[in-house]
Each structure stands twice: as structure tokens, then as C-alpha cells.
Assembly symmetry: C3
């Protein structure tokens, strides 16, 4: 892949400022550029790097005004970040695609594999599994009995899909994620715990992405349900019977307890945690490390553990650091008031 600044501007409907013939063949962070790399400036926080970067071409917003002249060639576009994403997508599509079924893939004779799939070395597809068209199943991935997978899905190495799970179209499952493990269900029986069989399954609808080493437990009965467009980061826990609404996103290490119902377009910060059997309304935002004990109404933004309104939490947090001082002041006031009372009653 090699493009001139002019070619890039043409692709992006941008304008060149500097040498239109400079050629770039890779991407770089703005602080690490080389003469043959393309970078971008979108977040003003990183502006100082542009005055030192060696990157041959820099994508900038149309209205960017450098404070000193730049030696790099600029390509001005309406939205530098969106333009970068478009270029990354073109580069991604130019990469050589994996294809074909490896001789050392282990596919049960009863399994069905759609057209144009890649099935890698040592991937294992069990009895009666059905995989759609144009899927990529990497080495060491495991697809259990009776699993159904739609079209255009990617399963990276060491993914485990337990029996009976259902995966929609265009889903991406990163390495080591586990779909359909038993929910954590036990009934006390005297001094011990007795396992409650988990006979439901997991359903991922279309366009879902699941991060590396994330776990999604199967339902006791019925389904743990991840709706269309949900994006889940690495090391997240989704317990049994949870339902996650369309286009909700969850950052790494979030943990959702059993039977929680989450609305559409919610955002979960990293390491946030939810108690079981609660509801989260549409478009709610749960801050990082927040602990949610009860229902959250739609459109609310909460923070803290237990979580409260996010702005209130931040304001209270500022005061938290003054608690020792407040305690001393309170004691001082008590003494003074006591003294005043004495003087007044003299």
C-alpha cells in the first residue's frame, strides 16, 4: 500500500497543503511519525506534537491553524478522525484475506459450513454446528454442538462457544472469550451448595463484538440475550439471564450480575459492577468503577459505589478529602457553642 498526499486528499475529498507528491505507506501515532507515515491530529490535546512529528502527511481538521509553519504536508478534511477511520478501513480491506478450510481443521461430519469460510488449523467444529457464509474461524477455536453462527463472523483463536449458543451475522469474537459457560447458580443444601443445572443458552444478535477473554454465561432457562450492535470490551463478565439492549457499549472488566436488564444505547465504564435482578434504562451512562445496587432510569449518568448522580459524586468526592478537617472543625464548633451557651447563661 502506497499513496501520495494528493491521492489521499482525493479519496477523502480533502485539500492538500504542501507537497502533493509525498508518498506514505503506513500509519503512525503523531509522536512517532516517519517520512513515509501518515498520521492525524483531531484532539487539540495532542497539537504540540505536530510541530515535531516526522510524519510525511498529517490529516487535520479544515479549520486547524498551526501556530508556526509546518514542514509536513497537510491534508485538510472536515473531520480528521473520521477521515482516518475511513483510510484505516481501506488499508484493512487491502490486507490479504485468510481463506479455505485447513487440512488440520477438525469438523464433525454432521456440521454444516457455509460458502467462502476460512477454518484454521486445529479449529474444532462439533456435531450439528451450523456456520454461515464467509466466516473466519481461527486456529484453536471451539464451536460446540448445535451452535448456530450467521454470516461474516470472525472467531479468533481459543474462542469457546458452548453447545446450543446462537451467534448472529457480522459478529466478532476475540481470542479466549467464552460464550455459554454455566451460570453461577447454586442452591444451599444443608452445609453445602447444590448446582442448579443451567439449561438455557446465549444468543448474540447481529453486529455484536465480544472482547478477549470476556465471559458470557448461558441462562438457567431461556436465553442470555445480547442485542444487535452491542460492543463489549475485554475481560467483561455477563452473568446468566442478562439482557443487553441494542448498541450498548461496555468497557473492559465491567461485571453484570444475573438477570439484569439493560436498555439500548447505554455506556458502561471500565470495572463498573451491577447487582443482580435490576434494570438500566435506555441511554444511561454508568461511570467507571461504579457499583449499581438498584434500577437506573433512562438517560441518567451515575458514578460511585453505591452509585449516585455523577456530578454530585464528583462534588462530594472533592469534599471527601476534607473530611478530617471537617471533623476537627465540627468538634471545635461544638466546644465554642458550649462555651457560648455557658457565657450566655452566666
Amino acid at each position: 500500500m502506497e499513496f501520495t498526499a494528493q491521492q489521499i486528499a482525493d479519496i477523502l475529498n480533502g485539500t492538500v497543503e504542501g507537497n502533493p507528491d509525498v508518498k506514505v505507506n503506513n500509519f503512525s501515532k503523531i509522536e512517532e511519525g516517519t517520512p513515509h507515515s501518515l498520521t492525524f491530529l483531531a484532539n487539540p490535546k495532542y497539537e504540540h506534537y505536530i510541530y515535531h512529528t516526522e510524519a510525511g502527511v498529517v490529516l487535520v481538521n479544515q479549520d486547524f491553524i498551526p501556530s508556526t509553519p509546518l514542514k509536513n504536508t497537510l491534508v485538510r478534511v472536515p473531520n480528521a478522525y473520521a477521515a482516518l477511520a475511513a483510510l484505516l478501513e481501506i488499508a484493512e480491506k487491502l490486507k490479504k484475506k485468510k481463506e479455505g478450510i485447513d487440512a488440520a481443521a477438525f469438523i464433525h461430519p454432521s456440521a454444516h459450513i457455509g460458502e467462502a469460510c476460512y477454518i484454521g488449523t486445529l479449529a474444532c467444529i462439533a456435531e450439528n454446528a451450523r456456520i454461515g457464509r464467509n466466516c473466519k474461524i481461527y486456529p484453536h477455536a471451539y464451536v460446540g454442538e448445535n451452535v448456530v453462527i450467521g454470516d461474516n463472523c470472525i472467531l479468533y483463536p481459543h474462542v469457546t462457544i458452548y453447545e446450543g449458543s446462537v451467534i448472529g451475522n457480522n459478529c466478532i469474537l476475540h481470542a479466549g472469550c467464552v460464550i455459554g459457560s454455566d451460570g453461577f447458580g447454586f442452591a444451599p443444601e444443608g452445609e453445602q451448595y447444590k448446582k442448579i443445572p443451567q439449561l438455557g443458552n446465549v444468543i448474540l444478535e447481529d453486529d455484536v463484538e465480544i472482547g478477549a477473554n470476556t465471559t458470557v454465561d448461558r441462562a438457567v432457562m431461556g436465553a442470555t440475550l445480547i442485542h444487535r450492535g452491542v460492543k463489549i470490551d475485554n475481560l467483561v463478565q455477563i452473568a446468566h439471564n442478562v439482557e443487553v439492549g441494542e448498541h450498548t457499549v461496555m468497557a473492559a472488566q465491567a461485571g453484570i450480575s444475573g438477570s439484569v436488564k439493560i436498555g439500548k444505547h447505554c455506556r458502561f465504564g471500565g470495572q463498573s459492577g451491577l447487582a443482580g435482578h435490576i434494570s438500566i434504562g435506555d441511554s444511561a451512562a454508568i461511570g467507571a468503577q461504579a457499583g449499581i445496587l438498584g434500577n437506573i432510569e433512562k438517560n441518567r449518568t451515575v458514578l460511585g459505589s453505591p452509585a449516585i448522580d455523577a456530578r454530585l459524586y464528583l462534588r462530594s468526592s472533592v469534599v471527601f478529602g476534607r473530611l478530617p478537617e471537617m471533623y476537627r472543625k465540627l468538634e471545635g464548633l461544638e466546644r465554642e457553642v458550649e462555651q457560648l451557651k455557658k457565657e450566655l447563661n452566666k
Copy 2:
């Protein structure tokens, strides 16, 4: 599997209310029932669903009184949740069992496999490992050198058991969990850290269940010890030399630092974390997201980070949201007391 309401009532020693001949062939959540599904109502929080569910049969508690007539057939039992668990167990037992040693399982000639085991495709059993009777080792599971596994254990795909670990009877290890990885032990050496070899092992006693992608580190020397009946959820971290007492349960993403000793019958909430070298007494309850810096006495319930008595924590948390108001009031009082002092001394 298909049963009539009457057959179910007979199995559960319950009574039928409605059509005893209605047939069901699967389980459903109460909000998702179909005419051929069986569901249950135990938690009163879900009662409103019973007036709309399509489920053919609903298990209810003996004393349940519907507020309007129901079209579904009810089976009344002393404890609807326990009755459901019993039915799930019967359904689980009726499922076709995996058996036999797959031609593409990789078993070292020196390893011993007990009777009636299932060893799946691409499972790998290393030198001198010993596996008991009636175990199920799924595809891609790895059993290291000299590992000993008891009877009736299940290892799901991508489980890793490092060399020398010991697993009791009736243990269930979910996909991707890691037993026996090196503890995190380093000694500072000048500017660097030097690895301290971890030569101990991990011992799981009988009836232990380990969740998906959970990690249990081997001891420096001696053993990391998980006693009988312990149930650990997904993505939990158990560090080296930890000891977990009988029938203790840990929710997802809990993290236990090195050399912690935990008593029997404790309960750990999700995302709770413990500092190293401390003791937790029997039947202690550690709340979700709690951070434990010191020993916890038996029977205590703690919450917060650092953790305090759980009720106190919740009461203090309510006041936390009023801290900005308290700070303003405190300043106001200081001014007023100052004013009073002036007036009094006039």
C-alpha cells in the same frame, strides 16, 4: 423430553390446578413462555409476569394467590425454586452424554485414563498425568505433567492445568480457566525485578467448581489450597499460597492476593478485592467491590473500600451525597458562631 402437568406434579409431590393433560417440552423464563414451556414463579418481584405469560405450566409456591384468574395450568409445590432445580436436574440427566476417547485426542503413553471417560478432539494429556473414572475432558483442554484428577470431573474447552496440580472428585472447570500458573513473585534486584521460582502447586479438593477464565496460581512452595465444596465464578483471581475454606462462594471478578487464608462458608461479592497475608473468619460476607486491607472476624458482613461494617457503610454512603451541603453548612455555622462571639463580647 415431554411431560404432562400431572406427571410433573407427581414427580414433585405437587398438586395441579388447571388442565392436568397439558404437555410441556422445555423451560422458559416467565416473561418468555410458550404454550409448550414450563416456567416458575418464586420471587414475588416477578409476579406481574404470571398474568401475561404464555407458558403452559407454571410452578408456584403452595400459598400463591393470584390476583386475577389465570389461563395457565399451575403446579403448586412447597418451594417453587427448589422444585424447578429438581426438574432441571432431571432434564440435565436425560441429555445425551459424551463418551469415549476421540481418535484425535493427544494422550501421552505414560498417562493413565480411568474407566468411562470422554476425552475430546485435540485434548492434550501430558506425561504421567492420572485421570480418574467417568471424567469428561472437552476439546482443547490441557492437562499438564503429573497432574492428578479424581473421578467424575468435567474440564471444558481450553482449560489449562499446569504440571503437578491435584484436582479432587466431582470438580467442574469451565472454559479457559487456568490452574497452577506461576504466582506473581519477584524480588527487587537493583533497578530490576528478579523472578522467584514458583515450585509449589494447586490442590482443589472434591466438589469444587471454577468459573470460565478464572486463574488460580500455584504456590511458591507448598500448595494453593481450595477446600471441598468451594464455588468460584468467572474471571476471579486466586493468588499464590491462598487457602479457601470449605463451601465458600466467590462471585465474578473477585481478587484474592497472596497468602490470604479464608474460612468456611464465606461469601464474596463480585469485584471484591483482598490485600495479601490476611485472614477471613468463617461465614464472613464480603460485599461486592469491597476492598479488604486487614483481617475480618467470623460472621461479619463488610462493605466499602477500605471495608467497614456493611450497614454503617450504607448509612455513611447516604450522607456522602450530602457532603457539599454539609461543607457549606459548616462554613455557615463558623461564621455565625464568630458573629455570636463578637456580639457577646460587645
Copy 3:
């Protein structure tokens, strides 16, 4: 392996107190010793165990004075913990080493494997991967296309290294860790999220250790960069474009958001979490469960979420438990001051 107390003293430049001919052949925790085991006492917290341990030999610090006579043989050394580490290392080196390329390892013909490597059963080395000398690649490990691995590395079972990642010399990657999974990058597009291709990679420099089931995401462009000597525990999340400075250590379940820059010699407590795009100075210490929202200067020690100075946090935490009492006192004072004002204005 069997040594007499005298041989151990000779190796460690220590002195024997007791029977120099007593033989030991394994290591034990001080509370679990047997007549043929060696143990150690370094932390005074564990001193009481020495009066009961059955261990044949106990390493102790030169200046240790038992409060009652001991039946065990003591080996006195300047630093019992360092001496133990040295012995563990000798024992580790005496263990039989794995070697050779297994007949059932799957190595692409274009891959290069250095001298003296062990490649286990069902390991998979993809196209154009290059592995240095003396590496150990365990069963079920996956090394993607164009990955470069240095000398003396260990990859445990079920490790996944995505294409194009670069691993230095002497690195240890524990079971189930994932190197190079896609960063969590999405751009809102109407109601949905559009994936931003992640075309960078991950670079681990020399002497890095990565814990079991830890995930390190590849950069959008450029590299996620883990510098020399960094030690990362289990279940940690490192997001895209993060940079971790030399000899920094991170305890289990820590989570680092995208584009964070971390200095040298920092220490991260378990379950700590960092917001994206911030900087952490050299030698900073981030407490367990801390939540970091902004830059942290070098040498600082912080705690809490949002984090503040660690000592202040602990002092404020003590007062936190008195908040209900403070609230009541504040209300009482308001009433009293009101009363005083009335009396004064009478």
C-alpha cells in the same frame, strides 16, 4: 534433589545450628513442614509457626533469636528470603527441561524456529512467524502470522499472539493471555457504532512477564508498547496505544485505558483502573482499587476513586464511617446556634 543442611549452608554462605547431616528433598510453607522439607522464616508475622513446624531445616535471618529452644536445624543467612529465592532457582534449574519439536506441533513451512526450542503438541505457528533460540512453546499456544519472538521465551498453553506482534528476549507469557487483540475503537454513526480498524501492533521488550488470561490490545496505529522488565499479573487489561515504562509492575485485575503513558518503576495495586489519555510519572504508586482520572506526578502514592494522596485517603476513610454521626451533630449545632441567636436578640 536432596541436600543436607550443611550443603545448603555451604551454597548460601550460611551457618548451621543443629544437625548438619539432616536431609531435605522439598520445600514447604512454615505451617506445613515435614521432616524432609526445608522452609524459611523472614516475615516476623509468621514467627509463631517456627515453634511448631515439622520442617527439617529452617532458613532464618542471622539475627533471629528464638524465644524457646527449637528442635529443627536452622541455617542462618544474612537474608532468609533472598536465600530461599536462590535455592528455589537452583531447584528450578535441576528440573527436567522440555525439548524438541513435537510431531503434532503445527508449524507453517514459512515460519522460522531457532535452535534448541521446545514446541509442544498442538502448538500452532503461523505463516512467516520467527521464533528465536531456546524458546518453549507449550501445547495449544498460538503464534500468529509475522509474529517475531526473541530468545529464551516461554509461551504456556492457550496463549494467543495475534499477527504482527513483537516479543523480546526472556519473556514469559502465562496460559490464556492474549497479545494483540483489537483495541476497543468505535465511532458513533447515527444510532450505531462503526468499528475503527486496529492496524497497529503490540511490542513487548525484553524480560517482560504477562500473567494468565491477561489481555494486551494492539494499537490503532503504531504500537502498544511494554518496555523492558515490566511484570504484569493475571487478568489485567492493557488497552490500545498504552505505553508502560521499564520495570513497572501491575497486580492482578488492574485495567489501563487507551493511550495512557506510564513511567518507569511504577507499582499498580490489584483492581486499580485508569481513565484514557493520561500520564503516570516514574515511580508512582497506584493503590489497589484506585480510580485514576487525571495525570499523576512522579513518586506520588495515591488511593481511592477518584484517587487522592494515599495517606489523606486513609485518614478521610476513617472519618467516612462517622458521617451519620457528623450529620446529626451538624444538625444539632444548627439548632443550638439558632437558639443562641434568639436568646441573644431577646
